[in-house]
Symmetry: C2
Subunit: 384 residues, 2 copies
Amino acid sequence: PFPPHRRYSSSAPCPHVAKSGNESHLEPQSFNTDLVIQLASTPNPKPDVSTFGSTFTDHMLTIEWSATEGWQAPLIKPFGNLSLHPACSSLHYGIQLFEGLKAYRGDDNQLRLFRPMLNMNRMSKSAKRACLPVFDQSELLECIRRLVEIDQDWVPTTDESSLYIRPTFIGTELSLGVKKPAHALLYVILSPVGAYFSVAGALSLWADPKYTRAWRGGTGDCKMGGNYGCSLYAQYEAEDYGCQQVLWLYGEDHQITEAGTMNIFLHWINEEGEEELATPPLDGIILPGVTRQSILELTGKWGEFKVKERYLTMSQLCSALKQQRVKEVFGSGTACMVCPIGHIVYQGESLHIPCQDNNSQLTSRIVKELKDIQVGGCTNTHAH
Amino acid sequence: PFPPHRRYSSSAPCPHVAKSGNESHLEPQSFNTDLVIQLASTPNPKPDVSTFGSTFTDHMLTIEWSATEGWQAPLIKPFGNLSLHPACSSLHYGIQLFEGLKAYRGDDNQLRLFRPMLNMNRMSKSAKRACLPVFDQSELLECIRRLVEIDQDWVPTTDESSLYIRPTFIGTELSLGVKKPAHALLYVILSPVGAYFSVAGALSLWADPKYTRAWRGGTGDCKMGGNYGCSLYAQYEAEDYGCQQVLWLYGEDHQITEAGTMNIFLHWINEEGEEELATPPLDGIILPGVTRQSILELTGKWGEFKVKERYLTMSQLCSALKQQRVKEVFGSGTACMVCPIGHIVYQGESLHIPCQDNNSQLTSRIVKELKDIQVGGCTNTHAH
């Protein structure tokens, strides 16, 4: 289903000498030579079902970079452990970022990636923010396509499942000074996945301003590792309150920002009496989700209600709930696609959010239309 | 110089089953069995000088933990690469933390650690915040002492140099779900170091509110990797403005918080006309530095001027500079100890800070007294 191995423009080796300041990383550099492929001798058994992201395919992609030699040849090789220097800057200073996208098998048995250039683009932005070198986005995507093609038997055939693709980019500087890494490793691993959340049904969220996920002047709009590590403690405090995830608030007015590791949407009758689908704007503290963007574009095209990026506060949500103006609240992300939210625990109260129990079936409709695209309803998202 | 190998209380294996919520990590668990030592066959040559943290000694300490089996036996083994699963949660979600302390060789040839229990204690706090398991602080310190003892020939003899000790603690969960790791690795590496900053003399700082190091509800008071990765970009923007480090501001009133990776001190005549040594309070966004605490205690004992943890804003600093009420500004940290600040670029102006060029020699005096303690002037900080 994927095109045959395209030979990359065989550019001469392009030494990339680090300049002072941030400019040195602004120009993407081609990978140094053609992709090298080393196949595994014996393929691993394919699992039926698995915990999200715990089983991996037979191969992985690795591409090394150094400030003196630039990008090396991309290498597809048998899946295995990384050998990292213990002073590696990704382990000490969180110089790391990742992406998440999925390959779907359609009814026609074709494999499709869902809008992968959006992930390549976001990954480039994260790389700049993390002071990691930028790369040629199309070249990387081509290498990922080749990896998925080689491990194509791992793409699940059942509904609700897919092949999760995890590009990862880490600093491998091997000294302890806090500085821009002179060595880096970009790698991609693949995992056949089912549903992200083990419990079906609507999520419950714990909303408390005591923990902040992201802040202005920080990295909340990039997919950097540190955004996640610092969120974990709050997630377990949420469990103490009987909730599954955190509803991240921001500022004195308790702005609604994200839900767990998802963007958040409110489908409601707004203060002006208009039916509206709203999500917080990309103002620096919100991750620019691919699913988020797709939902905005999809529902915008329907033209059936107002679709708006706008600030939403807890007091606006509480008023709307009292006045029965809320239709649905849901999270969105690549791992879960769309996930309805059923309860929010806030200031000692458990707020019931209408969702599957009323006539508003927006989430179901979005899921159906996105799935149709992912498994082949829309030709321009084909992997080839 | 270190005591002979103490046998740890040989407690029965203590399986540590993860409970739900955050409580499971609150009770420190003993390491499972005695320390195991595997010596390197051939010691590496000792360097004369090196870039900070780029040369490492012959051995390292590793201690593995899992939710089902608890802490395993601490192992001192030849220094070498770590073998990590590519889905390792420390590489994806910044589930990582570190410490930094130093061993000093005194004129009496004795080795001393400077207030190491403060580091063990802070490391425990970081571990809780990162959802990594807590550990017995005294046991870990004992293992570190043994490691330093084995590599004691690496502790430099020259002035200005020491053996930097880097305890590191990472999540090694090997699945991609964002959750508390069920596997973790605590390791310690040692590096003989000279001065942290390659350029001698007073530092220049770039102060701009566009980047934020830490924020309330975040992890700025813990030594977690994500705090550093997200600061790197600003550091290189500082270089674009001709500065070496960032002066991190916070809030609308541009509070002065930290300088690069250091705490910050202002020695001045305050608004009430009192001579004062001031540093921002530990309100959640300030790293509780060991050197910071030592300076507060040391200068407090002198009783020669007011010593105060208080908020300091850029406008207060600017007024004081205009009225020539500033004596010195300096950063503090384990890597550099004390570092005078000579310039601050703020709102298009370069503010000159008096330091070595006037009669106020507070930094020199602090450095001298701290060094006296580190190399043996004070018996209660002896390593044994």
